[in-house]
């Protein structure tokens, strides 16, 4: 891949205030994968992304969240490579920023501090994710991790998770904002009404406190099967009944969900632009089925067009 621009982490967020940020999210390969196979998978991923004009690649940190939901996980939990390790060892060919997720409870403070000190803050942003339930034992809590970053590496752009399904989520966003978060990434959005209410409450709460609201990136993910739908619901995604009915009765669930994702994106773009709220999108596939991944890439491309981007010049 040629070095085609000088996009850096902080410039990415400026896009949120201008036309909208666009990020593509992936889960690193499973821990059990051989290095050779990881290189093949990575090359295929980068080849797909080469067609997209995204601002950054997000790398998830997968934790076993079975404590969060007593129901059986529709897809099994399989440990994956640490996203920081995956970025350092396999993603040298990616010349734009990476958003590295950190489930902070998995790491000791010393491990987090070392990583923070080593990070190339021009090319790396992070999102700190707290415990998936109150009872979960953690090595480092979210507030400790936020304080650690402020102390060890305040120039690392930190993001926070936004879950529109939770009541009073805007209060959590304000707290994260005041703890140094420069942006937010939502849970997968299948109910734009809830996302709009969260963003609206956050926007007006900022205005009252004379704070500049930080960009909220809405996560969109297609759904190609009833099993993926079950997984989205297991993850806590609120799927309106009419939308669930439409997916269950569709001849082509994937095509139907793709159209819903696009309609939701249009709704959210119009809403944020009217409000004056900086925003963006993260597109991911919660399933590893090839058709769903390819539909995600197509969705990201179409979002790029909706946000007024052309195909990047090589």
């Amino acid at each position: 891949m040629v070095d085609r621009d000088d996009r850096t982490a902080d410039r990415m967020l400026v896009a949120g205030a201008e036309g909208g940020v666009l990020v593509f999210g992936i889960t690193p390969p499973r821990l059990s994968t051989t290095p050779e196979r990881i290189r093949e998978i990575t090359a295929a991923t980068l080849a797909r992304l080469d067609f997209l004009d995204v601002d950054a690649l997000a790398l998830y940190d997968i934790a076993d969240e079975s404590d969060r939901n007593p129901a059986e996980r529709p897809f099994p939990y399989l440990p994956t490579i640490d996203p920081a390790v995956y970025h350092a060892e396999y993603l040298g060919g990616w010349n734009r920023p990476a958003v590295i997720y950190r489930c902070v409870g998995k790491y000791t403070e010393a491990e987090l501090r070392t990583w923070l000190q080593m990070a190339d803050t021009d090319r790396v942003l992070s999102v700190f994710v707290g415990a998936s339930s109150k009872g979960k034992a953690v090595r480092t809590g979210l507030s400790e991790a936020q304080a650690l970053r402020l102390d060890a590496r305040p120039d690392l752009l930190l993001g926070g998770v936004a879950i529109a399904e939770r009541p009073e989520e805007h209060q959590r966003l304000l707290a994260k904002h005041q703890a140094g978060c420069a942006y937010f990434i939502s849970q997968v959005v299948y109910n734009p009404d809830a996302a709009k209410s969260m963003v609206s409450d956050y926007y007006y709460a900022c205005r009252e406190r004379q704070l500049e609201p930080k960009p909220v990136l809405f996560t969109l993910s297609v759904c190609g099967s009833v099993k993926t739908l079950a997984f989205l619901k297991w993850l806590g995604v609120d799927v309106p009944r009419w939308l669930e009915n439409s997916l269950r009765h569709a001849d082509d669930t994937l095509a139907e969900s793709y159209q819903h994702c696009l309609a939701n994106a249009r709704d959210l773009i119009a809403f944020c632009r009217k409000l004056g709220m900086p925003f963006g999108f993260l597109v991911e596939s919660v399933s590893i089925r090839r058709v769903e991944i390819e539909a995600s890439v197509a969705l990201a491309a179409e979002l790029g067009r909706l946000l007024g981007r052309g195909r990047p010049s090589a």
Copy 2:
């Protein structure tokens, strides 16, 4: 007003399966109004409606619903003329169907039976409304009234109330459908997602039982002030937080709510057409302020255009 068409009650509902029904709703004048003033008000109302190509005029039966909500009613309850009396005595100039609401608990079975036997079923439809709370004393219950109609006047087209905010509302719609309801009229819709879920659940439940779904008319009402917003919420209307924020912060609440009503109508039209669900709209003003009534008339005119109607030929 000239007799400009031969629209009858049953033809009105056919429109629901074709392009969408359009009804305008009004509350009869207060009981304390003098006959002369009632004639003036009625003439002004009919002059406004003369510009609209609506299928019917709905006349509400206002009950004191203070039992339904312990909070103070933002607008005081004032008894109004019985809609059947108002229709018979003052609306001779209205030559299209009228949808006469009946809060059945207010009447004895004998009163209802007499009215049913007298009704001109070419020009009159009804909507039976049950008690506003379980504890309320009623002269006739909803099931009794439905049975009475089946016995005394099965050719009177009967409608039922649809409240999308209630869980499992589609089960109530099915029960009303099976008790003879030929259409439904929703509570005021400020949350199209809830309305879509109710309609979707009802549609698929009908399909499972090999029933033809009956048209659902969505009620739209503009909101010109924070007081009207409070009244809508008192009535049980679910207003999404983002929409409430946008109304509270708007420079012009009425214009803002008008745009939301239109956007919701577009959403519901597209949804019902895609699903193949017969539908329509009822436009009313929950407030008696002149600017809100005039905005309602403008909204009904614009809905007529959205439904593909022209200005009626005189």
